[in-house]
């Protein structure tokens, strides 16, 4: 089995170790005998995104992010085609913001988004950013997962119709939002760095499943063999213990 992944703007949107997500997906696929094929897609590079099972985009600094906007907007039709054909999109931070209506930079410049969802991102108060460890309880189709990560964003994302999860500790989409990220079955957007996937192996497997389902609609999550490594539990516990939290979601 092969999973084809497009890594968008890997050389620009690579803040906060987001490449760790690709490492995690690659390793967890390989452990199950699945080949995880990564193609990087940069500015001006020809690519049919509907050809891929998974598209990944991380976050970047404001200035660097601005450089890729024209290229991204020029791919809008192709991204729509990919969504229609069940390509799964994993978007972190800047990538998440750019799929909404617009986002406002720290200098109050309004940057047009792809408008695949109703949410938009306003700039926060000067010098205020949502920074710190974050824990959320996420609902993904028929399962719930407790996710741990690190957020670091000035942007305040509003009007999120389907949040990814409920904030247990931290900020989320905006100060006092109570909710974090966006998930609609095809697009998963989140502010969680850390990077996101190494400490959230089940989420990584969920994303792998969604990607595999593009070519194998009957494939299910439980067909992935469990992975035997103790490190994830230790890493999660180190954070969860700080707020006396259990390693299981409170929502059902």
């Amino acid at each position: 089995m092969i999973v084809k992944c497009a890594w968008m703007y890997h050389d620009i949107m690579d803040l906060y170790g987001d490449k760790g997500n690709i490492m995690t997906l690659t390793k967890r696929a390989k452990e199950r005998g699945i080949e995880f094929q990564v193609t990087t897609v940069g500015i001006g590079q020809q690519a049919d995104l509907s050809d891929f099972d998974l598209v990944f985009m991380g976050g970047g600094a404001d200035k660097e992010q601005a450089v890729l906007i024209p290229d991204l907007l020029s791919r809008k039709e192709n991204i729509q085609k990919a969504l229609d054909e069940n390509t799964f999109f994993l978007l972190i931070c800047g990538g998440y913001q750019l799929f909404g209506q617009y986002y406002e930079t720290a200098d109050h410049e309004k940057i047009e988004g792809l408008k695949f969802a109703d949410y938009y991102t306003a700039t926060g108060k000067a010098k205020s950013r949502c920074i710190g460890n974050i824990i959320i309880d996420a609902r993904l189709d028929d399962q719930t997962l407790r996710l741990v990560g690190f957020e670091n964003h000035g942007g305040q994302t509003q009007n999120v119709a389907h949040p990814l999860g409920k904030v247990v500790h931290g900020y989320g989409n905006s100060f006092d939002a109570g909710y974090e990220g966006y998930y609609d079955g095809h697009i998963l957007g989140t502010y969680l760095h850390g990077p996101l996937l190494p400490k959230n192996g089940q989420l990584a497997d969920f994303i792998l499943t969604k990607a595999i389902q593009k070519r194998n609609p009957d494939f299910t999550f439980d067909k992935l063999a469990s992975i035997d490594q103790p490190w994830e539990e230790i890493a999660r516990k180190a954070l969860l213990d700080r707020w006396k939290l259990q390693d299981k979601p409170e929502i059902s």
């Binding site: 600094a61 710190g132 180190a238």
Partner: protein
């Protein structure tokens, strides 16, 4: 002149020294009494500021020592911190009653985000900027904002800028300083230069026109010979350029002389080049530079070696991906069988965001010669996950206690590398000394 603030600081110094404290508190008190304390001071010689992400401490210390070897009296913040209060304290401690600093030269290491609080208030003769890298981004914000905070105070600066000519992030500062003179330092292409950079890098785009920069070669990270294919922004002609770099022998050539330095790694070569630029500007003899190198103290946690019998432990501090990548290269160059202990803490001074470990090439030592990796510290589990997802094939374990981690490593191998974040450095050193009984 505000004698009061000087008096207040001096009084608090003597009081604090009685109770065994000091540091930046007298500066804080002086700034409370008179927020303008700094711009009322008088200087009888040059005032040199040193800033940048990596290497500012050793560069500032080397410049201080260089002037001392040339027979000058130097005042510096060597013992204090590099924020406004610490700098104020260091200066006021050496101020005479009329506010004159009792020194031929003042050399100050300044935190990058504090340049805007210092530069406009002192008669600065020279600003040395080593480099800008990602450094604990959760605290320092994005690098762009950091560089802009420095650019904002440069338009009226009339002194000399000493800039790393191989770092586009520092070269760009000259564009905002029309009244200043700029001197550039850097390295010639050498046996370690490479064509493609895989390391975390900043400043990929031209600061003038936003076009992607092209590199003739890289020395490390985004440091190298660059040019903008659109507007011509490029590595300028270098005023000080080091040749014949040998990282194993830690030697280099400058001005027809061969020098040997006390510090390892490519980044140290840039620090030497920065110091030589200051030497050139103030006409200090190369003999003073050579003496300075010879007597330089080995900084704690920079390839600090501990030996006992056949056992050897090497301790290194890591604080950001670029510095860490240079440490990885040092470990990679040592081909002996070894165990590695990584102590990853996430306290305030370490940076609470540990994602930088994914921008660090731990893969450099993931080879059969590294027989074991032991992860410790408050985020040991994250470190083990990093090694696991990096496909490390050797013996991987987590040991929360630093002493136990060092002990286990020494059981596995005679040669041990300990890599520690800021708050883990002293506990690591203590653990090593205890385990080796040295």
């Amino acid at each position: 002149m505000s004698k009061l603030s000087i008096l207040a600081a001096k009084t608090s110094f003597s009081l604090l020294s009685l109770i065994g404290r000091g540091g930046s508190l007298p500066g804080t008190i002086a700034l409370k009494v008179d927020p303008q304390s700094l711009n009322k001071l008088k200087f009888r010689g040059p005032v040199i500021l040193v800033t940048g992400t990596n290497g500012k401490t050793s560069t500032a210390n080397m410049i201080s020592s260089l002037f001392e070897k040339a027979g000058k009296k130097v005042v510096s913040n060597r013992k204090g911190d590099n924020l406004k209060a610490g700098i104020t304290a260091a200066l006021l401690q050496n101020a005479k009653g009329d506010g004159t600093i009792d020194a031929d030269v003042v050399v100050l290491e300044v935190d990058e985000l504090n340049i805007r609080h210092i530069l406009p208030f002192l008669p600065v003769s020279m600003l040395v900027v080593n480099n800008f890298f990602r450094d604990q981004l959760d605290r320092a914000r994005e690098m762009e904002q950091l560089i802009e905070s420095i650019e904002n105070v440069l338009p009226e600066f009339k002194g000399t800028l000493v800039l790393n000519g191989n770092d586009p992030n520092t070269v760009r500062l000259a564009l905002k300083a029309p009244k200043a003179k700029a001197l550039y330092f850097g390295l010639d292409k050498n046996q370690y230069s490479f064509q493609e950079s895989k390391e975390a890098s900043e400043g990929k785009f031209c600061p003038r026109c936003n076009t992607k920069l092209e590199y003739d070669y890289y020395q490390y990270s985004h440091i190298g010979r660059f040019h903008c294919p659109n507007c011509g922004f490029e590595t300028p002609k270098l005023d000080v350029q080091l040749d014949a770099i040998d990282l194993n022998r830690q030697t280099f050539h400058y001005g027809g002389h061969k020098f040997q330095g006390p510090y390892e790694g490519m980044y140290s070569m840039y620090n030497y080049a920065a110091v030589l630029t200051a030497a050139q500007k103030y006409n200090l003899p190369l003999s003073a530079f050579e003496k300075m190198l010879k007597d330089a103290p080995h900084p704690a946690g920079r390839n600090e070696r501990f030996e006992k019998g056949s056992k050897e432990v090497v301790l290194n501090l890591v604080k950001n991906p670029t510095g860490a990548n240079e440490v990885m290269k040092v470990i990679e160059r040592d081909g002996t069988r070894k165990a590695v202990v990584i102590v990853l803490n996430d306290r305030e001074q370490d940076g609470t965001d540990v994602s930088w470990i994914y921008d660090t090439q731990f893969e450099k030592f993931m080879n059969p010669q590294t027989i074991g990796v032991i992860c410790s510290g408050t985020r040991a589990g994250d470190m083990a996950l990093r090694m696991y997802y990096g496909n490390y094939a050797g013996d991987l374990s987590v040991e929360p206690g630093i002493e136990a981690a060092v002990h286990q490593a020494l059981d596995k191998s005679d040669t041990v590398y300990v890599v520690a974040t800021y708050t883990a450095l002293l506990p690591s050193r203590k653990a090593i000394k205890k385990e080796l009984n040295v």
